[in-house]
């Protein structure tokens, strides 16, 4: 009886302790990351290489997703369209939907899978094959050699990819909406400009940057703390994708509340 009563508090306690331990380890990783920043000659060239790999490697999937996001937004707009509304509103609707929400969130979620899996699997494999231990035993910092370049590459490249995705999605949205409704280029451009604020672009880029940082940090953390061989690498990779995706959605809601909620 007593053990049944104690089970819930014990479970809750373990859950809280587990959360605090994870939080502590992530905080330590962030501290290591800042410490490693002093080794500029190590992380700068590696960041460029990593950014080029992440950017060029992700471009095809980003273009495909952006194109279909634009097409789908346009067709959905056509389906829900009321004839008493001015057609230029379509420009507003498509551009704002893509820039404020679809561009950063869709690309963030897809890259959480693509970049997150890669980082976690790479670092996880390095951990279980003692390559990270080898780096440390050579007196070199894993933060400046492995983590800073990856986190920075994801943080810097996500906004770039989101800008490209936004442009492609808007163009494909314009082409598609013209197939279903009688809207001209001028109407679309007028609508796009009518409610456009420069803050919309900053907001979109702020989201993309924070998503990139979250993907980089979480995936590196998961990979860096991998245990138990190949199975551990699999678990770390899955955890990196799931955690990054959840954090992206949380950040999305948080930034919406903090920055655009009235």
């Amino acid at each position: 009886m007593t053990s049944t009563i104690l089970r819930l508090p014990r479970f809750t306690g373990r859950l809280i302790l587990g959360f605090l331990a994870q939080f502590g380890r992530i905080s330590l990783l962030v501290v290591e990351l800042f410490r490693g920043l002093s080794e500029v000659r190590i992380w700068v060239p590696r960041t460029f290489t990593e950014a080029a790999t992440v950017g060029a490697g992700s471009l095809p999937i980003v273009l495909v997703i952006a194109m279909f996001a634009g097409v789908t937004t346009a067709f959905q707009a056509g389906y829900q369209w009321q004839s008493n509304l001015p057609v230029y509103i379509l420009g507003t609707l498509i551009v704002e939907t893509i820039v404020l929400e679809l561009g950063p969130v869709l690309i963030g979620l897809v890259l959480a899978g693509r970049i997150g899996a890669r980082y976690a699997a790479e670092l996880g494999t390095m951990r279980v094959t003692e390559q990270i231990d080898a780096l440390e035993s050579l007196g070199r910092s894993p933060a400046s050699h492995l983590i800073i370049p990856r986190v920075l590459a994801a943080t810097l490249m996500l906004p770039v990819l989101v800008i490209i995705a936004d442009v492609v999605a808007i163009v494909s949205g314009l082409v598609s909406v013209k197939q279903v409704l009688p809207v001209t280029d001028a109407d679309f451009a007028y609508g796009a400009k009518a409610f456009w604020k420069p803050f919309d672009a900053y907001y979109s880029l702020m989201k993309a940057t924070s998503f990139g940082f979250a993907i980089g940090l979480i995936s590196c953390y998961m990979g860096f703390n991998t245990k138990q061989g190949a199975e551990g690498v699999g678990k770390a990779t899955t955890a990196a994708i799931v955690s990054s995706s959840v954090v992206i959605l949380l950040l999305n809601a948080l930034l919406a509340k903090l920055l655009v909620s009235t």
Binding site: R35, R41, T125, M126, T129, E130, Q131, D133, A134, L135, E136, S137, L138, G139, R140, S141
Partner: protein
């Protein structure tokens, strides 16, 4: 000099080291023997601070490793070459880049001409041709990987060399080659070495002194002759079993 005093380490419920005391004198080669899974590699990782003890002290050159600040620990590690069990070579880097990373002095690391010369020297030291530098770890055999791992460990001219099972997974011929290599390097470079192994024959062939780790404690530490003459049942059991295995093989 390397000293371990009362070192304890546990992972969860499992006690791995339960008050380990031993020392490695300047210039000697000490073989740390013990059955698989007794914590020999864990003990070795305490020496260069890759693992911190729960209790006790690990002292290298008069410095207590676990309490060293980050920079001092990095500096100490540059004086300790570590040869990992499976080489732990960086897959994405060529053999040249792997060995070059062993150059702890940044100015030497960035001097490409010096780095090329030193990498070639280190590869020759471990009986590998300079052409190996262009290859990637995936293109090397198990024995070659181990030798590249040794080349990387000696590239920075360390004072200490720690070998983690340098002959595990190798056939007897290659194991003998690596044992001879370890012996020759220790003599030529004048380093102080600790070699973790469960290969009794190799340990007797290479080491000046031997320590046996069992049940989290050092059972005996002494010369090969002292080991042969020991009446300790754990020592006798381990030696008899392993010599039988060697002859059976």
């Amino acid at each position: 000099m390397i000293e371990l005093r009362g070192v304890k380490k546990r992972f969860g419920e499992q006690v791995v080291l339960d008050g380990v005391d031993f020392e490695v004198r300047e210039g000697e080669t000490l073989a740390l023997l013990g059955p698989s899974g007794t914590g020999k590699s864990v003990l070795l990782k305490h020496i260069n601070g890759l693992i911190r003890p729960d209790a006790g002290k690990v002292i290298v050159d008069g410095l207590e490793v676990a309490t060293l600040p980050r920079r001092a620990l990095s500096e100490l590690r540059t004086r300790i070459g570590y040869v990992f069990q499976n080489g732990a070579l960086f897959d994405s880097l060529s053999v040249f880049e792997n060995v070059r990373l062993g150059l702890s002095d940044e100015s030497k690391f960035n001097d490409l001409e010096y780095a090329e010369r030193r990498v070639t020297e280190c590869l020759k030291l471990v009986n590998l041709s300079p052409d190996t530098a262009k290859k990637f770890p995936a293109q090397l055999s198990g024995g070659m990987r181990k030798r590249v791992g040794i080349a990387r460990a000696v590239a920075g001219a360390p004072k200490y060399l720690l070998y983690d099972e340098p002959t595990s997974g190798l056939d007897p011929v290659n194991a003998d080659i690596v044992d001879e290599l370890v012996k020759r390097l220790d003599q030529e470079l004048g380093v102080t070495s600790v070699m973790v192994t469960h290969d009794v024959r190799g340990a007797f062939n290479v080491a000046d002194r031997i320590a046996l780790l069992s049940d989290g404690k050092i059972v005996l530490q002494g010369t090969p002759d002292e080991f042969r003459e020991s009446e300790d049942p754990k020592v006798k059991a381990f030696l008899e079993r392993d010599f039988e295995d060697s002859f059976a093989a």
